[in-house]
Symmetry: C2
Subunit: 254 residues, 2 copies
DNA sequence: CGGTCCATTGATCAGATTCAAGCATTGTGG
DNA sequence: CCACAATGCTTGAATCTGATCAATGGACCG
């Protein structure tokens, strides 16, 4: 790919800092190859060796773990522009199974290709670091939802989370979004059963919070829903004040 | 502090990679100051400006968020050698409140002091990055526990998690540990009530899984408990194969 | 056209909460 | 040194949210 047309990874990261040519060059190294995957195809299987990361070009995917009794827990949803595999960087074996929830296109690249970024671009490294710790906060929000919220509140906070995530790269988006997840998948993400997800969605619709139409969903009372769940948008602003500048050189060493 | 006596931060990080003198020097910059805090004293309050991080020298602390109805959700426990505040790096305002669960000693340092590490030590940066993504996996484990496990299993997996964390820096530790958390705090961490935590602990003791004595707890059937919760130790091994080497120099740039 | 997946709905069940009371321990001020 | 308050753990009874079980119907697909 040329540096002139922005990939969705570049687009997403540009939301936080101005990317210089060197950074764009580094990021382009992550998107040299690409593969297509089918709906429900498994990308990485838990327990297998981790050697690669993936940039999502299109499609939704998710990571999950199986429980001994056959149930499962989704832990994360991936959208275009997200990078799959960071959590596994720290381990020799994958900690989750990653599966496509719809047809998708991915760019695989080896772990080792991060080396250049770490050695040559402290500022881009800081951005990746910030994204990693930002994701920790996203997990805390999920823990909070699952630990102390009712089924209704959990579903509402999931919808708001997805809405804000999609708005980063799609500023024109208002209140309607595609939701390519089954109710079973949503339940597996929020610690509920598919049955109760169905009942809760229906009640949300009856109460005028949402409007469903096929695979899309419309958020009708965003303000009320935000207040109901004490929701914070984690995708908008980022503190970049502590990032090293691009001009920093190593030869300033002690 | 001199470089000869290892701080618990250095001790903990040394578990994963050999730290060279430069790295030790960088880490020493995190422990220049130190403050004592009392039991239940609040270190950082949610919503206030984030400017500092803290290295824990002694004592246990935890991070939590309040719910509108007065309940709360703990999201993380800190032990000696842990760094407090990474998740807030990405934000201008603190996302959690951090409180001491017992008297503790902390070393505060400004965000900006990470700059040197990012610019001058790619390998140490990679280690911090690996710890950040490792923590994501810890959060996934917590999500899994709260989404798909019974109260008994959640408590068992918490006990195993703490046991393995303490064993990193205390290799002599076998099956007995101090647990300076009230049952209310444990409930707030696992999404349970203090009442049910009490009932569940009692049953675990009756069934011979644990033995309690004042503030300490003994794990009697570690193997069985590990299997019951499908527990994975996230603290033992780390994949450092992709880390840049210490000798890497920036002047290899394109 | 039959099979599969998914959403829906009702009846029943259970794990965990809520409410309430009692007891032990610790800390504090008189 | 004691009285008293505050905190934490325990236990029981009633209640409720969400799970389980089961059946139905629609949409899609080979």
């Amino acid at each position: 790919m040329t540096d002139t047309e922005d990939s969705c990874l570049v687009q997403k990261l540009s939301h936080y800092i101005e990317l210089d040519d060197l950074s764009r060059h580094h990021l382009a190294q992550f998107e040299l190859d690409q593969i297509d995957v089918q709906k429900h195809e498994i990308i990485t299987r838990i327990g297998t060796e981790t050697s690669k990361l993936y940039v999502v070009k299109s499609g939704w995917l998710y990571a999950f773990v199986d429980m001994p009794d056959g149930r499962r827990q989704l832990v994360r949803i991936f959208h275009p522009g997200d990078i799959i595999g960071f959590p596994d960087l720290a381990f020799h074996h994958a900690t989750t199974t990653v599966q496509a929830s719809e047809p998708a296109c991915l760019c695989p690249f080896p772990k080792k290709r991060l080396d250049d970024v770490f050695r040559l671009s402290p500022r881009l490294t800081a951005l990746l670091f910030a994204l990693a710790v930002r994701d920790q906060v996203i997990f805390m929000d999920l823990v909070r939802a699952m630990g102390r919220m009712s089924a209704r509140e959990r579903i509402v906070s999931l919808l708001l989370d997805i809405l804000h995530r999609l708005r980063i790269t799609n500023v024109s988006m208002t209140d309607t979004m595609r939701l390519p997840l089954s109710q079973t998948e949503i339940g597996d993400l929020l610690g509920l059963t598919n049955v109760y997800v169905s009942k809760t969605f229906r009640r949300l619709e009856e109460d005028g919070f949402i409007k469903r139409d096929g695979g899309t969903i419309r958020i009708l009372k965003e303000g009320e829903m935000t207040e109901m769940t004490d929701f914070s948008n984690r995708y908008q602003d980022m503190d970049i004040s502590w990032f090293p500048s691009y001009t920093t050189r190593l030869d300033q060493a002690l």
